[in-house]
Symmetry: C2
Subunit: 374 residues, 2 copies
C-alpha cells in the first residue's frame, strides 16, 4: 500500500461525519485514478485506493472480457503468492451475479450466501466473510466490470458504504473508459508506424526488416545504458521511422546491385534530410518530441564526417548516437546488394574501428552487452 | 439547457440534505463530463451542468492559454448575442486573481470587490453580483483554468457551495486533462496520415496532391449525400490512405511517360490489394473500422469490371462508391504523364458515361453539387 493510501486510511477511518468523508474519499479516489491511462496500473490503483478508503482487508477490481466471457483481475490484493490474476466465468459467484443483474449487494456473511464461489476463494487462499459488490457500468448502461471490497477491519459494511462504493464505481467507469480509449489510440498510432515502416522497407527485399532491426538494436542499447521505459519506447519509434525519407529514393539507387556512383550516393544521402522533413510535419505527442531532428541525424558522425548537416561531438545527442550505432550494425550484419552480411565478430570489429572518433564507444559497448558479445 | 440539466435543476434545488445533494451533484457532473474528449464541447457541458447544479444564472469555464497568457472561454452562457468567446488577460479581474493565487473565493457583491473587471462585464452585457470562483488545477498543481458560477437564483452562495464547486473543479481538471491528451493523440495520428500520404504522392510530381484531392472530393460527396461529421471524417482518412499500396509500385511504372503495357498495368493494379494488406495491419480505432477493405475497393466497379476482386453492385458499399468517384474525378482533372488534365465538363462527361453501370450515379450527382457544376 502506497504512502497516499496510508494517509487516506488514517484520514478516512477516523471520527468524521460519514457524508463529509464520502465527498473527500470520492475526490481522493478520482484524483488518484483519473489520469491513469494504463489499464493494468489503473486496476492496481483502484484496488489500493478502495481498500484504504473502506478500511478493508482487500478489494478486487474485475474487468469484463467479452470474448472469453470472463471477469478478470490482474491481481487480488494480498494474494500475490497465489498468482497474479484471477479469471472467473462472468456468471460465476456473487461478482458474476452483480455483473449481470447490475444490482449492488452488501453481503454480511458469504458463508450464508448460496451464490458465493467457494472454489475461487479456496484457489486464492482467501475466504472473505463480508463483501460489498457493485457493478461498474459504462454510461450507456453496458457492464464494464465489478468492484468488490472485502472484510472491513473495524465495524461492518453498511448501506452508506455501499452508496459510496457505487459512487466510486462511477469514477472507475469513467477512468476505465478513458484508459481503454487511450490504449486504442496508442495501438492505432503504433500499428500505423509499424505498418508503414514495414511497407517502406519492403520496397527492397534485402532491407525488408531493416527498420525493425534498428528499432530492436536501439532499444537494446538504450536498455543497456540504463534508460527507462519511456526512453526505450522513444528509440523504438525512432528506429522504425529513421529511414522514412527513403520513400523518395528511386529504386534504381535503393536496390542497385553494386556500389553506388558518387551521383547515386548523393541521391541516397538525401534520405536523411527527407526523413527530417516528413517527420517535422507530424505533430508528435510530448512523449515523442524531438523525433524529426534526431531521426534525421542517424548518419551524423562525431568527427563531423557525417550527413546531412556534418554535426560534431556534442551537437549529436545520445539518442542520435544510439540510432547511428544500431543503423550501422544492422547494415553490416545484413546481406547487401554488393556483399553478404558479416558475422558479429567482423561487424563489431568495424564498429570498434569507428570508435570513438565517429561512433560513440559507450553505445557500441552497450550493444555488445545486449548481443552477449564478448 | 439540455434535458439532463433541467432534471438536475429540479433534483438539486429541491429540499434535500446538503451533503446528500453534494455527492449526487458531483456524480452527475462526473458522468456528464467524464467521457467528453472535445475541449469545446467539454466547456459547454461544464457550464451547462454547473449552472444547473448551483441554481445559478450562468457560469463560465475559463481555460488558460499559456502562449497568449489569457483565460479563454468559448461561450458565456446566455450572452451568445454578444459573441461566442471571452478572452481576458490571465491576471485580470477576480478570475485572474484566483488563477494566480489558486485560492477559491466567494464574492457576495462584485460591486464592492476592487478586483472585479467591470470592462469585461460591460462587454458581455452581463454584470454578475454574486460569484463563486475556483481554480482548476492539474494534479501537479499547475493551473489549467478557472471555473466561476454567478448569481444564485434562490438564496445565497455559501461556503458549502464553494466546497462543492471545488470538488467539481477536481473532476473538471481530470476531464480537461483527458480531453487535451486525447486531442494531442488525434493530432499525432492525423498529421502522421497526412505526412505519409503526402510523402507517398510526392514520389511522382504529377500526383503530388492526388490523395489530398481525393480526400476533399470524397468529403464533399459524403457531405452532399447528407452524411454526418464522423462519416465525412472517415472519408477524409480513406481518401488520404486509399493509394498507400503504391508504396510498392516501381517508379518506372508509376511515372511512365506514355500508356502502360499490359504487364505494367498488371503491376500498377496490384496497388489496390497492397493498400488492403498494409491497412489491414493497422489497428484502427472504432471510428475508422473497415478502412482496409473499403480503401482497397476504390477500383471496384458496379458491373464487376473493376479490381482487385471484381466485386459487383451491392458488394460495393457506399463508402467505396464515394471513393471511386472521387478517385476517377481527380485522375481525369489532373495532368497525367500521357495527357493534360480535363475540364470539369469533359471529366463529368466521362463520369456520366460510367453511370450507372460502373460508377454510382448518386455519388456523381453529389460531386456535381459539391463542385457547383450544372
Amino acid at each position: 500500500m502506497g504512502q497516499i493510501s496510508q494517509k487516506l486510511t488514517e484520514q478516512l477511518c477516523g471520527p468524521q461525519s460519514a457524508d463529509q468523508r464520502h465527498l473527500e474519499t470520492l475526490l481522493q479516489v478520482s484524483r488518484a485514478i483519473g489520469s491513469i491511462h494504463d489499464t493494468d496500473l489503473l486496476m492496481h490503483t483502484i484496488m489500493d485506493q478502495v481498500t484504504a478508503a473502506f478500511c478493508a482487508d482487500r478489494s478486487t477490481m474485475f474487468i469484463h472480457q467479452p470474448d472469453s466471457r470472463e471477469l478478470y483481475s490482474n491481481v487480488a490484493q494480498g494474494v500475490e503468492e497465489y498468482g497474479h490474476e484471477i479469471r472467473i466465468p462472468d456468471r460465476h459467484g456473487i461478482a458474476g451475479d452483480v455483473f449481470h443483474s447490475h444490482e449492488p449487494v452488501c453481503v454480511a456473511d458469504t458463508l450464508e450466501d448460496n451464490r458465493f464461489a467457494r472454489a475461487v476463494a479456496s484457489n486464492t487462499g482467501y475466504v472473505p466473510r463480508s463483501m460489498l459488490v457493485v457493478p461498474v457500468l459504462h454510461r450507456t448502461g453496458r457492464g464494464l466490470g465489478v468492484l468488490q471490497v472485502m472484510d472491513k477491519r473495524v465495524g461492518y459494511f453498511d448501506e452508506l458504504a455501499l452508496e459510496l462504493l457505487e459512487a466510486i464505481a462511477v469514477q472507475v467507469a469513467i477512468a476505465l473508459e478513458n484508459a481503454q480509449l487511450y490504449e486504442a489510440q496508442q495501438r492505432q498510432f503504433d500499428s500505423f508506424v509499424f505498418a508503414f515502416s514495414a511497407a517502406l522497407d519492403a520496397r527492397d527485399p534485402l532491407t525488408a526488416v531493416h527498420s525493425i532491426n534498428v528499432a530492436n538494436y536501439a532499444m537494446g542499447i538504450a536498455f543497456e545504458l540504463g534508460q527507462g521505459p519511456a526512453e526505450i519506447e522513444w528509440q523504438r519509434i525512432a528506429g522504425l521511422l529513421h529511414d522514412v525519407g527513403k520513400i523518395g529514393t528511386p529504386e534504381m539507387v535503393l536496390s542497385k546491385p553494386g556500389r553506388l556512383s558518387d551521383g547515386e550516393f548523393a541521391v541516397m544521402k538525401e534520405h536523411a534530410s527527407h526523413s527530417a522533413t516528413i517527420l517535422s510535419r507530424i505533430e508528435f505527442t510530448e512523449q515523442f518530441k524531438g523525433m524529426a531532428e534526431t531521426a534525421a541525424a542517424h548518419h551524423e558522425r562525431l568527427d563531423g564526417s557525417g550527413y546531412p548537416l556534418g554535426l560534431k561531438a556534442d551537437q549529436i545527442n545520445l539518442r542520435a548516437r544510439i540510432l547511428a550505432v544500431a543503423d550501422v550494425f544492422d547494415a553490416l550484419t545484413q546481406d547487401r546488394h554488393y556483399r553478404a552480411g558479416m558475422s558479429l565478430e567482423q561487424a563489431f570489429g568495424i564498429l570498434d574501428e569507428q570508435a570513438p572518433h565517429a561512433l560513440d564507444a559507450n553505445c557500441i559497448a552497450a550493444l555488445k552487452r545486449f548481443m552477449a558479445f564478448n
